[in-house]
Symmetry: C2
């Protein structure tokens, strides 16, 4: 019995934007959709039933963090991440590579991916060889080694529905020759990851391939050809996406033009509202980013334009203009927070340093992302994507 399938259910006229259903042993994912980040196996500050109640369908855990704490054996003995974390729906784990390399190379990858606050951490990457990467644990400084094989073995123990092969994450500032060499090593690592995946095959899991190649079209083509040729269930767009939003949209669009279309495609680490709009237009199925839940903990609520401040996609409830604002974040939002609380109350919670404020905004931002993805799917299904896209592109 095959518990996994991918079926396109609607297309936007002549474009690549589409709706699809990804079937997994833990339920279905309607795409386009957003994956929420449960780095250590928890959505920070919230419970999984609160996230489920927003309509979220898909959650990821980070292999790097879960490997070091609590360790894959503990998760395996629970029967996998779903049993461990209480999230009953589909899950994905990454390879662990992104954290190791971004910590190692420093701020550049973080900058591109919008994860600036990791750049302050000490550089813990020691050495990359053909075998894999040596680094020090951020917890206790222990010497660790991650190879493609080990990453797959760890992810098999973690037991998420979807796993990623180890790839090298190269920063934007890298020269073309270096990017090419790194990409080719990533392809060898992905092939080894696949081999390990099939050697210790678990019918309850499927593997994504990852397209590298930085901002160079010829390298992207080479990487696309590699990924297209390998027996991956799905595919992800990784690596540097450039130095500007427009360059990112161009790289993604170029990549989507050549990737096979009978597999779900994930855009790694990207989750701005406009970014998602452009990704969907290019044919991407899923997106992930810590952004919606991270900004929630810092007092920021996602909100539809034009109210969002300074062309951002959110308002900052710590701003004193909300002190006596007795309206909800969004009167049209049906989340627990908007149904029950004023901006004034939320402002108060952040002023009083009450972490309930972060929780209430996490609920709102999660629900906002769910509704944003729903509105995108509805527009595609109802054959008005072109209008929707133009309207929201602004």
């Amino acid at each position: 019995m095959n518990n996994f399938s991918y079926n396109v259910t609607a297309r936007s006229g002549h474009g690549r934007a589409h709706c699809a259903i990804i079937e997994t042993p833990h339920g279905c994912i309607e795409t386009p959709n957003f994956i929420f980040c449960a780095t250590h196996g928890a959505i920070k500050g919230a419970t999984m039933d609160q996230i489920k109640a927003t309509g979220a369908q898909f959650v990821l855990g980070n292999t790097y963090h879960l490997w070091l704490q609590p360790g894959p054996d503990v998760v395996e003995r629970h029967g996998g991440l779903q049993r461990f974390t209480g999230w009953q729906g589909p899950m994905l784990t990454d390879s662990g590579g992104f954290q190791i390399f971004s910590l190692g190379y420093g701020g550049v990858v973080d900058e591109i991916k919008g994860k600036k606050d990791q750049s302050a951490r000490p550089h813990s990457l020691l050495k990359i060889t053909e075998d894999g990467a040596f680094f020090r644990s951020y917890i206790d400084g222990t010497l660790c080694f991650l190879s493609p094989e080990r990453s797959v073995q760890i992810q098999q123990k973690l037991g998420a529905d979807f796993i990623l092969p180890l790839d090298e994450c190269t920063p934007f500032h890298m020269k073309k020759e270096e990017t090419a060499a790194s990409m080719q090593r990533s392809h060898r690592w992905e092939a080894r990851s696949l081999q390990q995946f099939f050697t210790t095959y678990n019918a309850q899991q499927r593997m994504y391939g990852i397209v590298q190649g930085g901002v160079y079209e010829d390298l992207r083509r080479e990487s696309i050809d590699f990924v297209n040729s390998q027996p991956f269930f799905a595919q992800a767009i990784g690596g540097s996406l450039g130095g500007s939003k427009q360059q990112m949209y161009d790289v993604v669009d170029f990549t989507m033009r050549y990737l096979v279309q009978d597999r779900p495609t994930h855009l790694l680490g990207i989750g701005g509202l406009r970014d998602i709009l452009e990704g969907v237009q290019s044919g991407v199925d899923t997106f992930d980013c810590v952004h919606p839940t991270r900004i929630a903990r810092h007092g920021c609520a996602l909100i539809a334009k034009p109210e969002a401040e300074f062309a951002k996609e959110h308002i900052n409830l710590k701003n004193k203009i909300y002190r006596e604002d007795f309206s909800p974040i969004d009167p049209e939002c049906d989340c627990y927070t908007c149904r029950n609380f004023t901006r004034s109350y939320l402002h108060h919670l952040f002023k009083a340093k009450e972490s309930t404020g972060g929780l209430l905004l996490t609920i709102h931002n999660a629900r906002f992302m769910v509704r944003w993805m729903e509105s995108i799917r509805r527009a595609i299904r109802e054959d008005r994507w072109a209008t929707f896209y133009k309207q929201h592109r602004g």
Copy 2:
């Protein structure tokens, strides 16, 4: 129409332990019961619907904190604390005095009440006069003045069902003459509080009286006579309860012997399981304490003996013995946390510094307190309180 009433519904044989119903405009409280602390108008790290789901019936807010942030006007313009905080059930506010005086006198009151970590704060109490207390705001150092009248006016704006009169909270180390003088001033302040209460009367609120007198029986008698003689709806036991658990039980029992029995009685700031058992035995209706929710955030789960560590009433899930403990905190507990998560997962969350751990333990500890109070009420109703009391006294 009178929205408030107090009716005893069951008594334990010849003793003072009893069940009662306190009716308020926001619903009924079954007693004996526990009041959860929402200091700034939120149960730290949780949402009010999560607390409601545990079966909690009664929540308090702290006037001192809510006065300084967001200010009573903001709460009033929401229509009161219930609308502001999203807690739809009965609420109580204190007078603000406890925080001002305990911050002022330093650690001694905190010590008695088990609130040690406040003693590290700077002493901000400047001066106590017959009029009231001058102190500095802990937020911005502003000079503030709290009088009995102002405390009532603030609490009328906050709009909780129950309010407390301003009293002076004297520490255990105070001499008898000083305790007597302070108590007499508290009586004058309580009388002024009552006068203000009736002058600006709000039919949706009722006032508690507070018994002072420290550990001195003759002073307690004098204070009881005062409280019994005044038109309070309910009564609370305040002031120093002594230097040991046994002394506290004795002071409470002595006080309860003479307080009128047609009013609900609250024991201020006390909430240990054994303390509650003794309080109920003496005839107390309600208890409050930050303990269950505070220890939750530090990794401690309330649990029935004999497993609780070192004669404590909890286990500390940060302890490495729980790393691979795949059982729930309590297999007989029906809370969200116990139904879905292992001790191993909770241990992991605290190791990984994920605040979801504190939230999950807050849910468990709140449910534990609710079940503890339910089991006490059931024992009284089913006429087996004497046995229950002996059994749990240990």
